[in-house]
């Protein structure tokens, strides 16, 4: 019984999923001298969703990788239905019906979407010559994507997908296989509220069908919504494990970070000045966006809201000189910077924190310090063309302190850091150039609450010091928390502008969902 059949069947309750209990028993994991998990005990039950929570670097992904056979525990073991399991490779986990949706989507650039979904598990047909059954692959892929309401062509090369689309395809993959235990590692980070709802709908149906599910997320609302059980990790230890009812938002957060937290709320002070920082007129880059007009003052924080694929990243990249301008102008203060390349913009005080840290943000095999100084090496003191090592280390150390990057040393590579800490390095890399204009693309993607709050405060402080900030975010709460003004982008156009008290999670979501409803209506009209 595969998901494709399930998706094609009229409804839930097809059965065939005898209950599965998957247990991590006293798991410990060490990477060299670093211990990342100690005595973790977690039980995943059939029909229930177990959520793992924890700060960045708490060891959540490591636990999942152990459960999925990608890593071997240093101590402890895992059990499936009371039987001890020894998983030598992911394929062994698959054989036992265990599947992991990874935190970072695994890109197979040259494959088509349909093929990517079946990698490693191609259905075959034929009696003597077992040949790959392309027809089955296409139809089943189509069915699953339809069930997830994903509008992605199955023949598109994977390299043309955005990161959010990839993440959704990764989730869809899980559903194709005959797996009873599915582990979702932060699937919702790149998703919008609407897509999260779709995914949760699917997860609920799966749970209803008796699947055993587990889930990682930093977003407490989501966690409270979907989980049946919750396990909280801190520094590799279990600090809490109970049914959802035993927690509330505040207690979860304090467990995770080990301290009380202010609740996220609308910011109170605005630092907007009269001085114009950025003005964009009629900016167009076909086919991503058209005729974008907006301006930004020093000290102002401007949000860009929108669905995935709305073109916000493209707008940011175009302003930052990474993409061609088809039409329109961009002015920084009073100087025209249309088409000025990024290295020049950096010198003029523009910074862009990209959304995909692995692909664009940081060089993972390089050290923390090297990454931090890479945004402007000129700021490292140089004598006769040689960079001062001492000064560079100073810059790195200061950034590590300021941004509370959790690391064992400045010459650790980013490969050895958790996702959230990597994001902090990327952030530090750009903010430490002390820019006049910052564009932040999903600045808190995969960042835990504690660090999130720190980043918000930092953004606030930047604005207070007169920096103009553009924040692209798919989390409406984040925009509400941060922004003086929010522009809603729909299919490459600004469709709404919200300011001050108008900015509420509801209004932000409504503005771009409204856009999509308008489109649906158009389609209906055209169809009729």
């Amino acid at each position: 019984m595969s998901f494709a059949q399930w998706a094609a069947s009229p409804g839930p309750g097809v059965g065939g999923h005898e209950g599965r209990i998957y247990r991590a028993c006293n798991i410990g994991k060490r990477f060299g001298p670093v211990t990342v998990l100690r005595d973790v005990d977690a039980t995943l039950r059939a029909g229930r969703v177990l959520t793992i929570m924890g700060e960045n670097g708490a060891g959540k992904s490591t636990l999942f990788k152990i459960l999925a056979g990608q890593l071997r525990p240093t101590s402890g073991h895992i059990e499936l239905d009371g039987q001890e399991l020894s998983l030598g490779a992911p394929s062994a986990a698959h054989a036992h019906g265990i599947y992991l949706v990874p935190q970072e989507p695994m890109l197979m650039p040259e494959l088509s979407v349909a093929e990517m979904m079946f990698v490693g598990h191609m259905p075959t047909s034929g009696r003597f010559l077992k040949r790959v059954d392309w027809r089955a692959i296409r139809s089943r892929a189509r069915a699953v994507l339809d069930a997830l309401e994903l509008d992605i062509g199955i023949d598109r090369p994977a390299k043309t997908l955005s990161i959010a689309q990839l993440q959704l395809v990764e989730c869809a993959k899980a559903l194709l296989h005959e797996c009873r235990v599915i582990l979702f590692d932060e699937p919702t980070s790149p998703l919008t509220a609407h897509e999260v709802e779709t995914l949760f709908g699917i997860m609920r149906r799966l749970a209803g069908d008796g699947y055993t599910l587990s889930f990682i997320s930093h977003r407490t609302e989501e966690v409270m919504e979907i989980s049946d059980d919750i396990v909280v990790l801190r520094d590799g230890r279990m600090v809490g494990a109970a049914e959802r009812g035993a927690f509330d938002r505040a207690s979860l957060l304090s467990l995770m970070v080990g301290r009380e937290l202010r609740t996220v709320s609308r910011r109170t002070k605005s630092h907007v000045t009269q001085e114009l920082a950025l003005s964009v007129k009629g900016l167009t880059h076909e086919p991503s966006f058209r005729d974008v007009d907006f301006s930004l003052r020093r000290g102002e924080i401007l949000g860009l809201a929108g669905l995935i694929g709305a073109g916000r990243t493209e707008i940011a990249e175009t302003i930052f000189g990474l993409r061609q301008v088809d039409r329109g102008t961009v002015k920084l203060g009073n100087t025209d910077i249309t088409g000025v390349p990024s290295h020049d913009l950096i010198r003029r005080g523009v910074a862009y924190v990209p959304e995909d840290r692995g692909r664009h943000g940081a060089v993972l095999p390089m050290t923390i310090t090297e990454n931090i100084t890479s945004s402007r090496m000129e700021r490292v003191r140089q004598t006769a063309g040689l960079m001062s090592r001492g000064h560079e280390t100073e810059i790195g150390a200061k950034a590590v302190r300021d941004f509370r990057i959790r690391c064992a040393g400045l010459d650790q590579t980013l490969l050895e850091l958790s996702g959230g800490n990597q994001q902090k390095v990327v952030f530090a890399k750009w903010i430490s150039t002390e820019p006049r204009l910052v564009i932040l693309d999903e600045p808190t993607r995969g960042v835990d609450v504690g660090a999130k709050e720190e980043i918000y405060e930092l953004i606030d402080r930047m604005a207070a010091s007169g920096t103009a900030v553009v924040v692209i975010s798919s989390e409406s709460e984040e925009l509400v928390r941060l922004c003086d003004r929010v522009l809603c982008i729909y299919e490459g156009r600004i469709v709404a502008e919200l300011a001050g008290e108008e900015i509420t999670p509801q209004s932000v979501t409504a503005s771009y969902v409204g856009g999509s409803q308008a489109r649906d209506a158009e389609f209906e009209k055209a169809g009729a």
């Binding site: 999925a68 992911p90 695994m106 197979m108 040259e110 077992k130 040949r131 790959v132 994977a158 043309t160």
Partner: protein
């Protein structure tokens, strides 16, 4: 839906092949007008024949490159197999079918050794095959003791030059190539192994996580490449009727096979493989080189011609490919 759409789809998906066939034909026609002898059946046949050995090697190379590897050791493998089979045939009259098995065996074993080094010790393929290039070249010397093959039994010559049946004017090596191409195409397009190797070429970590036995696939692909190179060595022996210690290495067939695979539309970063393109690419190369002779271009410029051809076709292919990606997004 309609035939027009079908044609469009074929053009889009098989653009590289269509383009290669197009330029090859165009070249043949132009040369045929300038020099009627160029299009004589005889000459066409020899241009085909002349590309068989390179095609076989390049097919193996295509698999390896599609898996995001590279195999430099194909040249000494070709030489080794030609030398071993040739010397045994020359001195002992080794039956052809044993030579056949022997050449495949040599290739599989030594190719798999490459794969083992790549997968088990995680050494980059270019480093492994650079090393085994030297080592396998040494084997040729050790085996041959510096002698060379100058005559082969008639059966070998027939395999390299003859015809299967009198009424079919296609030489046996060309038929052999077609059969190998068909097998390879099936392997790449319609077997789990083929798709898995492409997955490894796209992203080996992801492939591993998806349950693919990456190490095993690697070993198998290098074994396959070794086998094809080694088989090409036997065909080389049968076709030229001779073998010296520098067969393969002296002709830099490792570089040529890479060039031809890339000309055929397989990207150097792997993830895709175009086998028909590879064969057409080596045919194109053969036609270009022959055309240079017919155009009375001095011999020293042949390799420049080869270089320009590579640049031109790879460049043209890139354009097409980018256009296709853009189309897929829209």
């Amino acid at each position: 839906m309609g035939t027009k759409d079908d044609i469009e789809r074929v053009l889009r998906r098989r653009g590289r092949e269509v383009a290669l066939v197009g330029v090859t034909l165009a070249l043949v026609v132009v040369l045929g007008i300038l020099q009627p002898r160029f299009v004589h059946l005889e000459n066409l046949r020899f241009m085909l024949l002349g590309s068989v050995v390179l095609s076989l090697v390049a097919l193996g190379q295509t698999f390896v490159i599609a898996m995001r590897g590279i195999d430099l050791s194909v040249a000494p493998l070709l030489g080794l197999s030609a030398m071993v089979c040739g010397l045994l045939a020359q001195s002992q009259g080794l039956p052809l079918w044993i030579a056949f098995a022997l050449s495949l065996g040599i290739g599989v074993v030594l190719g798999a050794f490459n794969g083992l080094l790549v997968s088990a010790l995680s050494i980059p393929p270019i480093v492994v095959t650079l090393g085994t290039y030297s080592i396998y070249s040494g084997f040729i010397f050790i085996y041959s003791q510096g002698t060379q093959v100058f005559s082969i039994p008639a059966a070998y010559g027939h395999l390299g030059n003859g015809y299967l049946v009198p009424w079919l004017p296609i030489p046996i090596p060309v038929l052999v190539l077609l059969v190998v191409l068909a097998l390879c195409s099936f392997l790449l397009g319609y077997t789990r192994f083929g798709r898995a190797l492409l997955a490894v070429g796209n992203n080996d970590a992801a492939a591993y996580n998806a349950g693919i036995p990456v190490g095993g696939i690697r070993i198998a692909v290098y074994a396959l490449s070794g086998m094809l190179a080694s088989f090409a060595g036997l065909m080389f022996l049968c076709y030229t009727g001779s073998a010296t210690v520098t067969a393969g290495t002296g002709d830099h067939i490792e570089l040529q096979s890479i060039a031809v695979a890339l000309v055929g539309g397989t990207p150097i970063n792997g993830g895709r493989g175009n086998l028909i393109g590879t064969v057409l690419g080596s045919l194109f190369l053969s036609v270009v080189l022959t055309a240079l002779v017919f155009l009375r271009v001095p011999a020293i410029w042949y390799s420049a011609g080869e270089g320009l051809m590579i640049l031109a076709t790879v460049q043209a292919g890139l354009r097409r490919h980018r256009a296709r990606d853009a189309e897929a997004v829209a």
